[in-house]
């Protein structure tokens, strides 16, 4: 009987510690995320910088927080398996560059909006999602940042990395998967890479 009590007590203790560790990780990531947002806002508001210099600085600040490479791989889904090493590298480079350009274009529209985390979700121990509101003068935009924790830390990257962003329910990754899948039904990977390079 005493053994049973011990087991129950131990499992409660383990569950409590796991919950506590998860809460700590959430708080740490939240602090890092908000600090990064502040850093980006400071760069955006630095009037001394040219638009290009500003965007380069922002992309440099944000790159350690994003796993663009994983996004590139997941966006191709099954088609990734058929790529040669050379094409795989070329595709990742194009995808990463396209993401950075797309992000820079969106920064240009920034008009003093504020970011507020309204909900934190942790569906798995290695996944955290921040549901945020981007509040401007007129509108509020819900943006979800989805993080994962790689099993082994990637050099020059943060511990938790963003692998998808949802804007008003529209996932960047899912939309890319859909359009790439459809594109590759009738065209080749070379044509897809051509189309991506034209976007740069």
């Amino acid at each position: 009987m005493r053994g049973l009590y011990k087991k129950i007590l131990l499992s409660f203790l383990v569950a409590f510690m796991a919950q506590n560790a998860a809460a700590n990780e959430q708080v740490q990531l939240q602090n890092r995320f908000l600090k990064k947002i502040d850093e980006v806002v400071l760069i955006v508001e630095d009037k001394k910088l040219s638009k290009d210099a500003r965007n380069r600085k922002i992309v440099k600040a944000l790159t350690p927080m994003f796993d663009f490479e994983l996004m590139a791989k997941l966006s191709l889904d099954g088609a990734w398996r058929g790529l040669s090493a050379e094409n795989a590298k070329k595709f990742i480079d194009l995808y990463v560059e396209r993401m950075k350009n797309s992000y820079s274009a969106k920064i240009d529209a920034y008009e003093g909006e504020k970011v507020k985390i309204k909900k934190i979700q942790q569906p798995k121990s290695d996944r955290i999602a921040f549901v945020t509101d981007l509040t401007g003068k007129e509108n509020k935009l819900e943006i979800v940042y989805k993080f994962y924790k790689p099993k082994t830390k990637i050099p020059n990257k943060d511990e938790w990395l963003i692998y998808d962003v949802e804007i008003l329910g529209v996932s960047i990754l899912k939309t890319d998967r859909a359009q790439f899948r459809e594109f590759l039904q009738t065209k080749s990977i070379y044509e897809l890479m051509d189309a991506l390079s034209k976007q740069l």
Binding site: E69, L70, K73, L74, D77, W80, R81, S84, A85, A88, K89, I92, S102, A105, K106, A109, E138, Y148, I154, P155, Y163, D164, L168, G169, V170, S171, L173, K174, T175, R177, A178, Q179, F180, E182, F183, L192, A195, L196, Q199
Partner: protein, 257 residues
């Protein structure tokens, strides 16, 4: 891919054939890792429903037509309108149209049992129609902090579990699906913009009045949202599936809310 970079740096002096072999081995190893990554993230895409698209050929043609109309007609008109009309006036016109669609939001919030939203929509309509001078201003939001709750009949049907059905691109209106296209009719019955004489008062009674009011509403909306469509287009490798998927995901989210 990082392995490839590292391998490239550390093997600078090696035989080129050996290096190629090593690259291949590293890539194969990397491919094993990606299999694990695909498996790990499989749950993310489980809910990724393939949109029913039996009208794909028509939809592609209509997307090209709509995009052409946007580039050749709506965008130039929108730009001229943008230059001629100040932002405050444009926002007031948008507020006015939003306010007159109150019956659509009221009924659909009610049909979904969202009673607090129904009350808030009523409060917004009363405040904006009076203090907001016929709805041209939005003191309900700016002063009383009462948020709008957009609901339409498509969302109401979705709320009761009715799926979107085949995707349909509508002329000028853009992406839609069977459920949302059919839902335009009941929503139109609740709209104060109409093209025939009705037994109840409406703001427009003839086709000419209806088209004039709708054109003003659309051009005003386009001039305020022009950048968003342009940015979406820049992210699209193939515009039709991109807009189709973005629309279906957006509607799913609206219905879930």
């Amino acid at each position: 891919m990082l392995f490839i970079f590292v391998a490239g740096f550390t093997q600078c002096g090696a035989n080129p054939i050996d290096r190629q072999n090593e690259d291949r081995i590293v890539f194969e190893k990397e491919n094993d890792n990606i299999e694990n990554e695909f498996e790990e993230f499989a749950d993310e895409f489980e809910s990724e429903e393939k949109t029913s698209d039996p009208f794909a050929s028509y939809n592609r043609v209509m997307t090209r037509f709509n995009d052409g109309m946007y580039e050749c007609v709506l965008k130039p008109v929108g730009k001229r309108y943008d230059e001629a009309v100040s932002l405050q006036v444009k926002e007031s016109i948008r507020n006015f149209f939003n306010n007159i669609y109150f019956p659509v939001r009221f009924v659909n919030n009610l049909l979904q049992g969202k009673f607090s939203h129904t009350v808030q929509e009523t409060q917004r309509f009363v405040i904006n129609s009076t203090l907001g001078i016929l709805g041209f201003f939005d003191p309900a939001k700016s002063y009383f902090k009462i948020e709008a709750h957009e609901e339409d009949f498509g969302q109401t049907l979705g709320f009761y579990g009715i799926k979107g059905g085949p995707h349909i691109v509508l002329p000028l209106l853009g992406p839609s699906n069977l459920r949302d296209t059919i839902s335009l009719y009941p929503d139109a019955l609740l709209s104060p913009l109409d093209y025939t004489e009705q037994s109840y008062p409406t703001l427009t009674d003839t086709w000419a009045e209806f088209i004039a009011a709708k054109s003003l509403e659309e051009i005003n909306r386009i001039s305020l949202d022009m950048d968003n469509y342009e940015k979406m287009k820049n992210d699209a490798v193939d515009l039709y599936p991109y807009l189709r998927d973005a629309y279906e995901q957006y509607r799913k989210k609206q219905i879930e809310e």
